[in-house]
């Protein structure tokens, strides 16, 4: 009898569960190898980007949402390559946060600053975390790719002759000797090469990895993704 009562309770509970499902607090939107990207990650990233760019949350489109998801997949791939996280000193994070803050008029007054953060559904901790993550990845990319970059003198000459001088002349300025600007041109070319290497690397990583976007399985939700971001922000 007791066994029969237990079975009844189980079925009743199961039936109630299916009839009244609870609120979805988060969702997996992408599986990257053994890692996942949660919907909340994407929303945070979108809000963070909107915050930095000064865009209203309402302006975020599904297209922006998808782009942010792509970037998060890339970041996840890099993070898996990185293995152990690089240690970013808290001061560096704070410095970067302070630099960001200094770029906004609201940054001068704490309350204003907090209000602006809140407008995007962010906290100071969220901002610091995002900055930390970005600095981590940035440094990792620099460490991995920069040693592989070689810029020879001919490339510097070519840039000087084909890009720099024409633009300088357009501005109406006189020619500057190559020796004066070669170091900076070399730096630009290094950065360019790093950029190209990064693109190629990410492409290879995607090819070699198993990346499943779960976005399409939740299409009703996707449609309202931007709205969710806006709602969260409010």
């Amino acid at each position: 009898m007791r066994r029969a009562l237990q079975l009844v309770l189980v079925f009743v509970t199961a039936g109630l569960g299916s009839a009244y499902s609870g609120e979805v607090i988060d969702r997996i939107v992408a599986v990257v190898n053994r890692g996942v990207v949660l919907q909340s990650d994407v929303e945070l990233a979108v809000r963070y980007e909107a915050f930095l760019e000064g865009r209203a949350v309402g302006e975020v489109s599904d297209k922006d949402y998808r782009k942010a998801l792509d970037r998060l997949v890339d970041q996840e791939l890099l993070r898996q390559e990185m293995g152990e996280a690089l240690t970013i000193p808290a001061s560096e994070v704070q410095a970067r946060v302070a630099e960001i803050r200094s770029q906004f008029p609201e940054g001068r007054v704490e309350s204003d600053w907090q209000a602006r953060l809140g407008k995007y559904g962010l906290t100071s901790a969220d901002l610091a975390e995002r900055v930390r993550v970005q600095l981590e990845l940035w440094r990792f990319v620099e460490l991995r790719l920069r040693p592989n970059v070689r810029v020879d003198d001919s490339a510097v000459d070519s840039y000087y002759r084909d890009e720099f001088l024409p633009r300088l002349r357009e501005s109406g300025a006189e020619d500057v000797p190559l020796t004066e600007v070669s170091a900076r041109i070399r730096q630009i070319l290094v950065e360019r090469n790093v950029d190209q290497l990064l693109s190629a690397w990410l492409h290879n990583l995607r090819d070699q990895s198993e990346v499943h976007l779960e976005l399409d399985k939740h299409s009703p939700g996707v449609v309202s993704s931007a709205e969710r971001v806006a709602n969260k922000a409010q």
Binding site: A95, R150, F164, R167, A173, V176
Partner: protein, 1362 residues
């Protein structure tokens, strides 16, 4: 009874006798009657009557005779009178008729004709205007049939001589002999008409002055009234035959209508008509014609096939043509000739007026021309197209000008128009021809383009060329003038860049198949060609540029052998190996040429090559265009600054002589009687590798001998004077030379190798004879002979020839040394010699030092004797016996000396070491055996004893060695593949190589030789303070290989310089000398840096291009594959560096050029970098470049400047090192850089007067900063989607050096004292000097003298809060 009674038998006898007498009487009477004039007259009348009856005419017979028993009859003056009037030539008259009959059947009384001869028969037919003739009419016999056989004649042979058929006084000569002749004629009184037939089995006849010919003929004819109808006429002779039929309708008009068809074998026609030019062909005629007494005409069509026409100057083959023809007694017309000739076509028209006229133009010019007879006039016009040039060239080629040997191809088109008056041979032809090359040719063909305009004059056989231009791919000829079969006057300008096109013509002239000239430039001839074609004369200017002369070496001719007459050098050359042909390049050859078959003259000739030039004139008589051994010639040769090697090549010699020659020689005569003289000067010469400043001689040629008088050879102070002569034919020579002041130090051959000689040499030498039987006397002396700086005394040597024997003697002595050489050489055959060398107390230090590199520590001494016997021309048969009674060599203070004599012998190139026993300190060595000096170079040696290894280092000073080595070794096999068996023991030995950081000491162990392998047994050594155990083996069969395993413990390695490490190792060395590998593991247990070791300098040095290493160095061929690790957290401590870390490296590459892969982790420490001391907080160095040592840094280091703790990050390879800057208190990067560079922040710098940026700098900075910003922003955007990021454009920019280029030197002179010196390169007198003294860690005093000369002091107190 007998008397009265008649005997019947007797009566029969009487009757028989009486009958016999009666018969005899009758026979006699008959015979008498047959020979009686009465019978003769009867017969004559009978014959006359019969003939008259048969012909109808009156017959006269002058005389009739016969010989019955021969059945031979002869009639003379037989005349048949026709109806002609009296006084006319009778119808038929024969001077003599001779016939022989034969009895065909006695029973049937059939008699035939065997032979019929008509001598001078004259048949006269008169055709009257009314058609009647003088033909007599046979008398008709009424009782007979209307057709009466007039005669039916058959004879085996018929001969008509001097006959004549006269028709109306027009005579036609007849002269023939025929066989098997049958003729019959019958008279048909019903017509009335005559039927005739004639068959001639073989007729031999001739016309006029033609050759006689034979023919077979059949004819059928009918003569009726006024008509004469030849129903058929066939005639056949050889391959020619004629079929005709015709009739004379009206005998009164004598109009003949004929249809004919003839096929003529033109070869036979040519032979019969004596037209020898006509060699082959068939003529077909098919036509009809009419003939009247006043005129004739014929029309028809002719075809000629396979016509060959050959004249001395023209040959035409296989021509076929066809044309209609129309001919009458005035005109011959071929209106539409179409001919196929040489692959092309010719169409045209030929017309000849008065073609039957015998009057020629010359006769026309005669004083009394007959106006009624017109002169013959002809014209021919032809258009030709596509006629093969090769055919035309072949047609006009002659043996003397065989143009057909050049395989010229082209298609000729144009027109030929000829007219003539009188004979065809006097024709004048206008030519206008164009030649077009074919589209495709084979390599053997020479395509020709050109035009020819000219006129051919048949009367003189001359072709007058108005203009002719012919060109091939490489040759162009322009010509004008006249060209005839007997004479030519042609102006020619010819240019060619490929003589190969003309080679076939030269070959056809009997010269070489290939010209001895290889032309790269052009050959140009501008001149005239005259004389006869078969013997032309050529005059003009010839110039050849950029060519090589090909000269066969004299070795092709045996000694004393002469070049065969008529063969050129090139022909010899072509028969020999082409690789032996010597080529010599010339820039230009020019000459004025005059050639005729009897002479050749070259004037103003010049051969030039670079700066050298040979000028010469040559006059030679030729025999039929050839230069022979007996051809006299004169030549004057003048060469200025010519290369001796080139002159040798020209002369056919190849001695090792070089130099610059000036030659002036005149010669004359023939090759065998050459005479002349001249002068030769050679400067800057090299003879057998010996330089000679100048050599000169007067040269005389006489009697086949070249004499060199007043020879002077000078080299520095050395002089050779004398005279010499050489007979080119007998190879005999004689010379007398004196030389002195030769410094041996100036003779290169005596300075080669390790021995350097010096001394003054002089000599006197005279000789004569031949190379096979020379006579030589010479004295040679060398004073102050020095070898490698070691004085060897004076040397005197003499050579004297007495009879066949040359006696040699030489002597040298200095101090106690004594060296004598004595010997004899028989100067015949192979020069058998017996030479002995004796020496005592001979100091051979130079020899030993040369090979032991100056390791001598005293004077050496050698005594002994060497005897040599055998032929000097066959050194391999030389027998050598040697015995060294005493040898003493001090090496590295080890006195090596012999124990007992050292004896050896060489026989058949086999060295026999009979006895060798050397003693020295720690050394006792004996060896015996043999070694072949050639062939397989087999060995059979036994070595026994012990050796002080210090001797080893004398062989190569790069090694340092000591110790003892005991051996008992046998060597067999060959030098290339020795087989060694035995045992070697090493005791207390050591060896080190100069390029290796560590050497080996305390080497002890055993080595066992086992054929081609050296096994290392129980070998121990010490190196770098540690121990080393060695096992393995070395092979030395064809190449030296090894496989050695080493276990090392606590070995200190001082490499690279300044770095000392202690390590344990387990490594293996394997491979060969050319390719070896060192593998294994090395564990570093301790690591130290020299206080002076600057890591930055080491890295900078490693970035330099690798030095060129000796490819044979063992280090170059030693590949590394070592795994170097460290003990955990290896401590590195030096006075300026204290680091701890881990090492995990792979050492790759070669020992000469190592590379490193792996990683070094630095945990903590201080380093001295770029002259500055830094505290390394953390870092790692990775090596990833597999081609060189290239560390990639990732180091965080901190230092302190003023009151700022600055942390620098060094990232990336040292070449592209990027540096990050942080500071405490925090400063902007630019401030940190400014602080490091200038000792103050930007804010402080702003206090300094800084020149404001001009517009260009601002624009430049903006553009570059924007570009950098865009690049980095792109990446940030890609990763994080954030575009708002600021990159300070001043980083790395001009702000780093705000006031211009500066040099900053910071030197920490003590732990607490730092001096910084900053100078502005752009401005003078602007130096900043700062001295910072750290009183404590927190307090420092800074003294600064700024660029304005103001000295200030700062006291700084640092306090750091955490």
């Amino acid at each position: 009874m007998t008397d009265g009674k008649t005997n019947p038998r007797r009566n029969r006898l009487w009757i028989q006798a009486a009958l016999g007498l009666l018969l005899l009487g009758a026979f006699v009477a008959t015979g008498w009657y047959f020979t009686s004039p009465q019978f003769n007259r009867w017969v004559r009348n009978k014959v006359i009557a019969d003939v008259e009856r048969a012909t109808g005419g009156r017959v006269d017979i002058g005389q009739l005779r016969w010989t019955l028993w021969k059945l031979e009859f002869e009639a003379r003056d037989v005349t048949v009178h026709g109806l002609e009037p009296p006084g006319e030539i009778p119808y038929l008259h024969v001077d003599r008729i001779n016939l022989r009959a034969k009895v065909m059947s006695a029973l049937k009384r059939q008699v035939g004709l065997r032979f019929l001869e008509l001598d001078r028969p004259v048949f006269h037919l008169i055709i009257n205007p009314d058609g009647s003739t003088n033909q007599p009419v046979p008398r008709k016999r009424s009782s007979q049939s209307p057709i009466e056989t007039l005669f039916d004649l058959a004879t085996d042979e018929i001969r008509v001589s001097r006959g004549e058929v006269r028709i109306n006084d027009r005579p036609v000569p007849i002269d023939f002999a025929a066989s098997d002749v049958a003729a019959a004629m019958s008279y048909d009184s019903g017509g009335p008409r005559y039927h005739g037939s004639l068959h001639v089995g073989k007729i031999d006849t001739k016309f006029k002055d033609m050759r006689p010919f034979s023919a077979v003929a059949d004819a059928q004819f009918v003569l009726a009234g006024h008509t004469f109808h030849v129903t058929s006429l066939t005639m056949k002779s050889g391959d020619s035959h004629l079929v005709a039929s015709g009739y004379i309708q009206d005998l009164s008009s004598a109009a003949v209508d004929v249809n004919y068809r003839a096929t003529l074998d033109l070869r036979n026609v040519g032979a019969i008509s004596r037209t020898r030019q006509m060699r082959h062909g068939v003529l077909h005629l098919d036509g009809r014609g009419t003939y009247t007494q006043s005129a004739f005409n014929s029309i028809g069509r002719l075809t000629v096939s396979g016509l060959d026409w050959q004249e001395p100057s023209v040959r035409i083959r296989n021509v076929s043509l066809a044309s209609d023809y129309r001919v009458d007694n005035l005109r011959l017309l071929l209106p539409n000739i179409s001919a196929a000739i040489f692959g092309g076509r010719a169409t045209g028209k030929v017309e000849v007026l008065n073609w039957l006229s015998q009057q020629t133009a010359s006769r026309m010019l005669a004083a009394n021309p007959r106006p009624q007879q017109q002169v013959r006039q002809g014209s021919a016009i032809f258009q030709i197209s596509g006629v093969g040039l090769s055919g035309i060239v072949g047609a006009i080629s002659t043996p003397s000008l065989p143009l057909d040997r050049v395989n010229m191809v082209g298609a000729t088109s144009g027109s030929i128009a000829a007219t003539w008056t009188g004979e065809l041979s006097k024709a004048v032809a206008e030519l206008d021809l164009a030649i077009v090359p074919p589209a495709n040719t084979t390599p053997q063909q020479v395509p020709v383009t050109g035009t020819v305009q000219g006129r051919y004059l048949g009367s003189s056989g001359v072709l007058r060329i108005a203009s002719a231009e012919l060109s091939t791919p490489a040759t162009r000829v322009e010509a004008g003038g006249s060209l005839g079969s007997t004479a030519a006057a042609l102006r020619i300008t010819a240019t060619t860049s490929n003589l190969g096109e003309l080679t076939p013509i030269f070959a056809a002239q009997g010269h070489s198949a290939s010209l001895p000239v290889d032309l790269h430039g052009q050959a140009t001839f501008d001149g005239t060609v005259g004389g006869r074609i078969s013997a032309p004369t050529i005059a003009g200017h010839l110039q050849i540029t950029d060519f090589e002369s090909l000269i066969a070496p004299p070795a092709m001719l045996g000694r004393g052998q002469k070049a065969p007459v008529g063969k050129t050098v090139a022909s010899e050359m072509s028969a020999s190996n082409p690789r032996t042909v010597r080529r010599m390049h010339w820039d230009i050859f020019s000459t004025d040429l005059h050639y005729s078959p009897s002479s050749l003259a070259l004037r103003n000739s010049a051969l030039r090559r670079g700066n050298a030039q040979i000028n010469f004139d040559l006059n030679a008589q030729l025999h039929r265009g050839r230069f022979t051994e007996t051809s006299p010639f004169t030549a004057h040769v003048n060469a200025h600054r010519a290369q001796v090697a080139d002159l040798q090549t020209l002369a056919g010699y190849d001695y090792p002589l070089s130099g610059i020659a000036d030659v002036n020689v005149r010669v004359s005569g023939t090759q065998s009687t050459l005479r002349g003289n001249g002068h030769v000067v050679v400067s800057s010469a090299v003879v057998h590798g010996h330089p000679v400043d100048r050599a000169s001689a007067d040269v005389d040629f006489a009697n086949g001998e070249a004499q060199f008088n007043n020879i002077i050879v000078a080299q520095k102070r050395a002089r050779v004077l004398g005279a010499a002569a050489y007979n080119i034919t007998t190879h005999g020579f004689r010379f007398r030379l004196r030389g002195n002041n030769f410094n041996l130090a100036d003779i290169p051959v005596l300075q080669q190798g390790r021995l350097k000689h010096a001394g003054l040499m002089s000599f006197e030498a005279d000789g004569s004879g031949t190379p096979d039987a020379p006579i030589i006397n010479a004295n040679v002396s060398v004073t102050n002979f020095v070898v490698n700086g070691e004085r060897a005394g004076d040397i005197t040597a003499q050579a004297r020839t007495v009879g066949e024997t040359l006696t040699l003697s030489a002597r040298s002595n200095v101090g106690d040394s004594d060296l004598t050489v004595n010997g004899t050489v028989r100067l015949r055959d192979d020069f058998p010699a017996a030479i002995s060398i004796r020496f005592a107390h001979l100091d051979f230090d130079p020899l030993v030092q040369a090979y032991l590199r100056g390791r001598m520590t005293g004077d050496s001494s050698l005594a002994g004797a060497i005897d040599m016997r055998g032929p000097l021309r066959r050194l391999r048969d030389l027998q050598v016996q040697g015995e060294l009674s005493q040898i003493y060599v001090p090496i590295e203070n080890i006195q090596v000396r012999n124990h007992g004599p050292i004896r050896f012998a060489i026989s058949q190139q086999v060295l026999q070491l009979k006895e060798l026993h050397l003693l020295a300190e720690g050394t006792d060595f004996t060896a015996t055996g043999m070694a072949e000096l050639s062939g397989e170079r087999r060995l059979d040696l036994v070595a026994l004893g012990h050796v002080n290894l210090k001797i080893v280092q004398t062989l190569n000073p790069d090694y340092v060695s000591y110790g003892n080595l005991s051996m008992d070794v046998k060597v067999n096999g060959t030098v290339a593949n020795p087989l060694v068996n035995g045992h070697v023991q090493v005791a207390n030995a050591g060896i080190s190589y100069i390029d290796l950081p560590n050497g080996l000491s305390d080497i002890n162990g055993d080595l066992v030789f086992n054929r081609d392998r050296l096994q290392i047994q129980n070998m121990t050594a010490r190196t770098g303070g540690g121990t080393l155990n060695l096992t393995g083996y070395v092979t030395y069969a064809r190449t030296i290989g090894f496989n050695i395993q080493a276990f090392a413990k606590d070995i200190r390695l001082r490499y690279p310089p300044g770095v000392s490490s202690m390590a344990d190792a387990n490594v293996r060395l394997s491979g060969t000398l050319r390719n070896s590998t060192l593998t294994g593991d090395v564990t570093i247990t301790r690591f130290g840096l020299n206080p002076r070791f600057d890591f930055a300098q080491y890295l900078a040095r490693s970035k330099q291009p690798p030095e060129l290493t000796d490819p044979d160095s063992p280090l170059t061929n030693l590949r590394l594959d070592l795994h170097v690790t460290s003990t955990p957290e290896l401590q590195v401590q030096t006075s300026l560096a204290r680091l701890s870390g881990n090492v995990d490296l792979r050492l790759r590459g070669t020992a000469a050029r190592p590379t490193v892969l792996g990683r070094v982790d630095i945990i903590d420490g201080d380093v001295f970098f770029n002259g500055t001391k830094y505290h390394v907080e953390r870092g790692d160095i990775t090596f990833t470049n597999p081609t060189r040592v290239e560390p990639v840094l990732d180091i965080e280091a901190s230092t302190r400047v003023r009151n700022y703790d600055i942390t620098l990050g060094f990232h990336g390879p040292t070449e592209k090192l990027s540096t990050t800057y942080r500071s405490d208190p925090p400063l902007a990067t630019a401030d940190i850089i400014a602080l490091l560079a200038f000792g103050r922040t930007r804010e402080e710098s702003a206090m300094q007067p800084v020149s404001s940026q001009n517009f260009t700098e601002t624009a430049s900075n903006a553009i570059l900063g924007q570009a950098l910003n865009a690049t980095v922003s792109s990446r940030v955007q890609k990763l994080f989607g954030v575009s708002r990021i600021k990159i300070d454009p001043q980083v790395g920019g001009a702000e780093n050096n705000p006031s211009g280029a500066r040099v900053t030197i910071e030197q920490q002179v003590a732990n607490n004292l730092t001096i910084t010196y900053i100078t502005d390169l752009a401005r003078s007198n602007q130096q900043i000097i700062s001295v910072e003294y750290n009183v404590t860690r927190a307090v420092s005093i800074l003294a600064v003298r700024d660029q304005n000369g103001i000295v200030s002091f700062d006291v700084r107190i640092r306090h750091r809060k955490r």
